[in-house]
C-alpha cells in the first residue's frame, strides 16, 4: 500500500515534467499560432485581440501555470482549428481508440500466447519452427503493409468485411488484426523463450518427480513463472495502442486519438497536440503502473519486497 502511494507520487512528478517539456517544445517550434489561425489578410488589431484572449502576451511561465491550472479542472484549452474544447475532442476520439486497442490486444495476446506456448512445448520440432516463422513474419511486417494487405483481400477482393471503420464491431476486425499482428509476433516469441527458460528450472524436475504429467507441469508450474516478461511487454503494447495507432487509424479512417494527433500536427493546432500528448503520457504511465501491480500478484517475492 505504501509502495503504491509512493509510486503515485512519483507518477505525478513524471507527469509534470512531461507537461513542461511538451509545453516548451511546442513554443520553441517556429510559427505563430495566431497568424496560422487567422490566415494572412487580417489587421493588427484583430491579431492583438486574439493574442490577448489566448494569453499569448503573458510570460511563458505564467502561460504554463495557467495551462496546468486548466488541466486540473479538466480544461485543455480550445482547438485553434475547430474552436472546440480539446478535452471534448479527446473524449470523442478515445472510445474508437479504446475499442481498437482492446480488440487488437485480445487478438494479439490470445494468438501470441497460444503460438508461444505451443512452440515451447514442441521445441525444435515442426510446430516450433512453423509458429516462430509466423511470428517473425508478424514482427517484421510493417503495420501499414498488413493493413493495406488485409484491406485489399478482405474488404476489396472478397468483400466480407467493411473497408472503412464506422464504429461497428465488424468494421473494427481488420484494423484490430492489422494492429495486433505485430504484437502477436513479439508476445509469441517472448512467451516461448521465457517458458523454455522456466522449463529448465529445478522445480520443474521436482514437479515431474511428483508424478505430474507434461501438460500439468507447464500449466501449473512453468507458465506462472514465465509470465513476468510477457506481462511487461503486454502492458507496454496496450498503452502504446491506447495512445493511438496512427497508421491503422489512418488507413481505416478511424477517428481515434492517433488521427486526432496527426491532424493536429498538420493543422498546427497546438492545444490539441498538447492535449493528445499529455493524454497519451497518462495512459502509458497508467499501463506501467498496472503492470507493476500485476507483477506482485504473480510473484510473491515481489509482493514481499513491495
Amino acid at each position: 500500500m505504501k509502495q503504491i502511494v509512493k509510486r503515485l507520487l512519483e507518477t505525478i512528478v513524471v507527469l509534470l515534467g512531461v507537461i513542461l517539456l511538451i509545453f516548451i517544445m511546442l513554443r520553441v517550434v517556429p510559427g505563430d499560432p495566431v497568424t496560422t489561425l487567422l490566415g494572412e489578410h487580417v489587421n493588427q488589431q484583430t491579431i492583438d485581440r486574439l493574442t490577448k484572449t489566448m494569453h499569448l502576451d503573458r510570460p511563458i511561465l505564467e502561460q504554463f501555470f495557467l495551462y496546468v491550472g486548466g488541466l486540473l479542472r479538466g480544461d485543455m484549452g480550445q482547438s485553434y482549428k475547430y474552436n472546440r474544447p480539446v478535452t471534448q475532442m479527446i473524449m470523442d476520439a478515445f472510445p474508437y481508440t479504446l475499442a481498437l486497442a482492446i480488440m487488437a490486444s485480445i487478438f494479439a495476446w490470445a494468438l501470441g500466447l497460444i503460438l508461444g506456448i505451443f512452440a515451447a512445448v514442441k521445441q525444435n520440432r515442426l510446430p516450433d519452427h512453423l509458429f516462430m516463422g509466423i511470428s517473425l513474419f508478424g514482427v517484421s511486417m510493417p503495420v501499414f503493409m498488413a493493413a493495406l494487405f488485409l484491406q485489399y483481400l478482405f474488404a476489396f477482393k472478397w468483400k466480407v468485411l467493411p473497408l472503412k471503420a464506422d464504429g461497428s464491431f465488424l468494421s473494427m476486425i481488420l484494423p484490430a488484426i492489422a494492429l495486433g499482428w505485430n504484437s502477436a509476433g513479439s508476445v509469441a516469441r517472448i512467451t516461448r523463450s521465457s517458458l523454455l527458460e522456466a522449463m529448465q528450472a529445478d522445480y520443474i524436475d521436482t514437479a515431474k518427480a511428483k508424478g505430474l504429467l507434461g501438460r500439468a507441469v507447464i500449466l501449473r508450474h512453468a507458465l506462472k513463472n514465465s509470465m513476468l516478461p510477457v506481462i511487461t511487454m503486454m502492458a507496454l503494447q496496450l498503452s502504446s495502442m491506447l495512445s493511438g495507432a496512427v497508421i491503422s487509424e489512418t488507413v481505416f479512417a478511424i477517428p481515434g486519438i492517433g488521427r486526432l494527433a496527426t491532424s493536429a500536427i498538420e493543422n498546427r493546432d497546438m492545444p490539441v497536440l498538447q492535449g493528445t500528448v499529455i493524454f497519451t503520457t497518462v495512459i502509458v504511465i497508467a499501463g506501467n503502473f498496472i503492470a507493476d501491480i500485476l507483477y506482485s500478484v504473480l510473484d510473491p517475492r515481489i509482493r514481499k519486497a513491495a
Binding site: 529445478d202 522445480y203 524436475d205 521436482t206 515431474k208 518427480a209 511428483k210 508424478g211 517475492r301
Partner: protein, 341 residues
Amino acid sequence: MAMSEKKEKETVTKTDPEDVLELHDLKSWFYTEKGIVKAVDGVNLRIPKGKIVGLVGESGCGKSMTARSIMGLLKFPGRIAGGSILFDGKDLAKLGEKELRSICGKDISMVFQEPMTSLNPVLKVGRQVSETLLVHNPEIGREEARKRVVDMFGKVGIPEPEKRYDSYPHELSGGLRQRVCIAMAMICRPKLLIADEPTTALDVTIEAQILKLMQQLCAESGTSILIITHNLGVVAEICDEVYVMYAGRIVEQADTFELFDHVEHPYTKGLMASIPRIGKNPERLYTIPGVVPNLLHLPQGCAFCTRCPCATEQCRTEKPVLTEIREGHWSACFLNQAKSE
C-alpha cells in the same frame, strides 16, 4: 573374471524379491555433437527393502544421472541407451511417460540437492506438497489433503505447520525448505526415496538433523533410501550398503562396515584419505591428483589409471570388471583381484 561373468548372468535374469529396485547394466548416454558421453555406463545396483544404500563419487561421476535415469528426468540429449530399471516387476526404462509418472511421487520419490531452487517460487509450499498427494489420490479432496500435509509438516519438524502451509518458499530458511521437500517426498509413503545430495546445500549443523529425519521417517514407513553423496561421512552415518562410482561405472561395492574396514579400490582409498579428520592435522588436506577424466575421451583401460598411484601396464590397456574379491565385497581393480586369487 569367471566370477564376474557369473554375477552378470545372475543379475540380468533373476530379480530378488527382497529388492525394491534393481538396476541391471544401466546405460544412460548423452548423444552430443562431439560424440557419445557415457554418463552412466553399465551400472548394476540393488536396493534391498527397508535398507539405505549410498552411491558415492566425485562430481561428474554419473551418480546424479543414475538417479535421474530412474525418475525419467534425463535431459536432452541424454537417454537410457540400455539396461533395465526393475521396480515392482516393471522395467521403468521401458515404461511410457504416463505410466512412469504414475509411479513417481507415489512409489518412488526424490529429494533434490538444492532446496532453494527445487521448490516453485510462486506457489505456496503447502500447495506444492498437497499437489503430490492429489495427483495420486484425487479422490481425497483438497480439505483432507491440507489436513494430511499439515500433519506431515509437523512430522518433519516444521514449526507452526498450519501457518507454514501458506508460506512461499522464499519465506523459509534452507533447512525448512529441505524439510518441505522431504515432506513432499514422503507424503505418499513411497517404497523408495532417492535423495540426491540432500544435505550438500545445507549447513553442517542442519545436515545431521535432516539425515536423521529421513532415516526415522523411512524406518516408520518401511521406505528404502538411495542416497547420493560425495560425503563419506554421510555414508558412515546412515548407509547399510555403499556403491562407489567413478566415470560412469561402479568401482567398488560392499556393506558399510566392510568398506570402511577394508577399503580395496585405490579410488575409494583416495576418497577416504581426503576426509578431513579431527586430531590429525596435516599441512594440507589430501586430494586425489588430477580430475575426473573427460567422459568423451576415457582412457582405453581402467578409467582411473591416469590418477591411480599403483596403475600398471594392464590397467592402461584392459578394463577391469567388477568382481567379488571377498564375500559381499566387490571391486573393479586388477590389483585387488590379483590379491584375492
